[in-house]
């Protein structure tokens, strides 16, 4: 896991540093003394290797350095301002995706073979195929501009969170619903479920106490990739809905050649991913005692 972080940091650092054109390339040539001072301030002097080891050292101390675009602001500050927004959006979408997906999937499994089930599964296939940058603007067009029910963008009120969170969660609600339905159907046909039924337990107890724990394992193992996809997806959703989150920095920092800001966002996102994946692994072993943590 630390290996992954290290790889990502190194790849990002070298790709940004090796790219032609520095952050201070302007139309007007800067006098060499000022350029030298700037480079020193942003610790961009010295050989590439010295810069790299210096950067790694600072990272270990938790210092993400100064942004070269937003002068005199540290990357830590910028991220501290925007990350809570992203986390709120991502967290809401996460809850919608898991709760909604599992509920829908269980419902579809219970109504096996009915027209409703077929319909729900068909709709979910469509929902999986549609990217957020298609659904997002369309939702705005319908619910914000035509029906005037919800705000167009920004993040000022709880109501303005509804559309972006739904946009972000949509495909994953559908995916988790399909996942839940398939594994629920499989589990309901197994011997231990028949035993539970034979004991005379109510259908609700059979499903919630016995079947659910096993049937939800595939869903739990999807939570790691889900978090990753939500993080990447939030970049688009934040752009579409004009939400001041950390995802916008991705686009900005690449266009402004703001290497440390880009590096900072990448690192924070990767740390989040690694931690979330670890939590998922732990949850998985806790749910399925047959697996031991390696």
């Amino acid at each position: 896991m630390l290996m992954v972080l290290f790889c990502v940091v190194s790849i990002t650092f070298f790709l940004v540093r090796l790219a032609p054109g520095g952050p201070f390339d302007k139309e007007r040539k800067i006098p060499p003394q000022i350029e030298k001072a700037l480079l020193a301030k942003y610790k961009l002097d010295g050989t590439l290797w010295q810069q790299y080891t210096g950067y790694l050292g600072d990272l270990l101390k938790g210092d993400l350095r100064l942004s070269t675009k937003y002068r005199n602001r540290t990357v830590n500050e910028l991220l501290a301002q925007t990350l809570p927004t992203t986390a709120l959006l991502g967290g809401t979408a996460f809850v919608i995706a898991t709760v909604g997906g599992v509920a829908l999937g269980a419902w579809a499994a219970a109504r096996r073979g009915t027209a409703e089930e077929t319909g729900a599964m068909f709709v979910s296939l469509i929902a999986i195929s549609l990217p957020t940058f298609v659904t997002g603007p369309l939702l705005i067009l319908v619910f914000a501009l035509t029906l005037n029910w919800l705000p167009v963008g920004g993040l000022d009120s709880p109501a303005s969170l509804i559309l972006p969170a739904l946009t972000l969660a949509g495909p994953y609600v559908a995916y988790i619903a399909r996942l839940t339905r398939t594994s629920m159907l499989e589990v309901l046909g197994q011997d231990f479920v028949r035993t539970a039924r034979a004991k005379g337990l109510s259908e609700w107890r059979v499903v919630s106490k016995h079947a659910a724990k096993v049937a939800l394992l595939p869903v739990v193992s999807f939570l790691g990739p889900l978090a990753a996809n939500l993080l990447t997806g939030s970049i688009v959703v934040e752009t579409v809905f004009n939400i001041p989150g950390a995802g916008g920095f991705f686009v900005n920092s690449i266009q402004n050649r703001d290497g440390f800001l880009l590096g900072g966002v990448v690192i924070v996102y990767c740390v989040l991913l690694v931690v979330l994946n670890l939590l998922v692994d732990i949850a998985y072993t806790w749910m399925d005692r047959r697996i031991k943590l390696a």
Partner: protein, 310 residues
Amino acid sequence: MKTGSSKPETGKAGEVSAWGVLRRNRMALLCMGVLGAMTLAAIFGPWLMPESASQLTANQFAPPSWEHPFGTDLHGQDLLYRVLTGARVSLFVGLAGAVISFAIGTAYGLIAGYAGGKIDGAMMRIVEILYSIPRLIIVLIAINAFDDPIKKWLSALDAPGLISYSRILILVLSLGLIEWLTMARIVRGQVLSLKSQQFVTAARSLGQSHWKIVTRHLLPNLVGVVVIYLTLTVPAVILDESFLSFLGLGIQAPQASWGSLLASGAQAINPVRSYWWLLVFPAATMSVTLLALNFLGDALRDALDPRSRR
């Protein structure tokens, strides 16, 4: 649903029976029709349209009409023309990216699976690490890094027409380079199970070279699986490309892809005035294509590999 043993079929027999299954699936046929029509329209459509369609005119933001079925955009260009030329770019990037990922993934999976042991372990460990890296983010950084070098390289080639295609080239290369992981895993798994089959043991005991075993015995048996994931990789690459173009980091104006058209469509809707056609038509075209590709991929998987039916 589950069939116990994995019977190795020869490539040809597999294709014939799969074609039979596929032909009975109306949905799959419909999807193939849609995709065929879309491809033809993308290739020939822009040529068949009147010359005026490609011109910038003063007739901006005209709603859909007989003359302009999809309306016109900010520059008074016919939107149908823009969507069709965008389809060319998007479909090309999707296909080319998928082919690159197919080549890398198949080769990587074959080597790992066939070599086995420590080599296999190390190679799959690398794949795992790459899996956990947010891939699109790496592509974003790669585009940022390689944009200028590739432009320079293309201009050094003394082909001025090619420079405007540098972004497409980068997109194809970088997307191809990140989308091969799943393909590699699947091919490796398949090779592992094929390797232990008796016909491979027989070939080996006959003294055939590794190269011959791989090309004559393993590759033909991989065709089915590879074709399925190729059809599923194309929409994935199209999605990635439009994701980047939507953010303004992929295809650049004046060229357009579905993603960049969607981006300008999303900007054209606001509380004051919504030019809805700029959003709805690119969105519909892209959604129909992606849906058709995904459905076709699923149908192919059902037809060629009954065990993986979900």
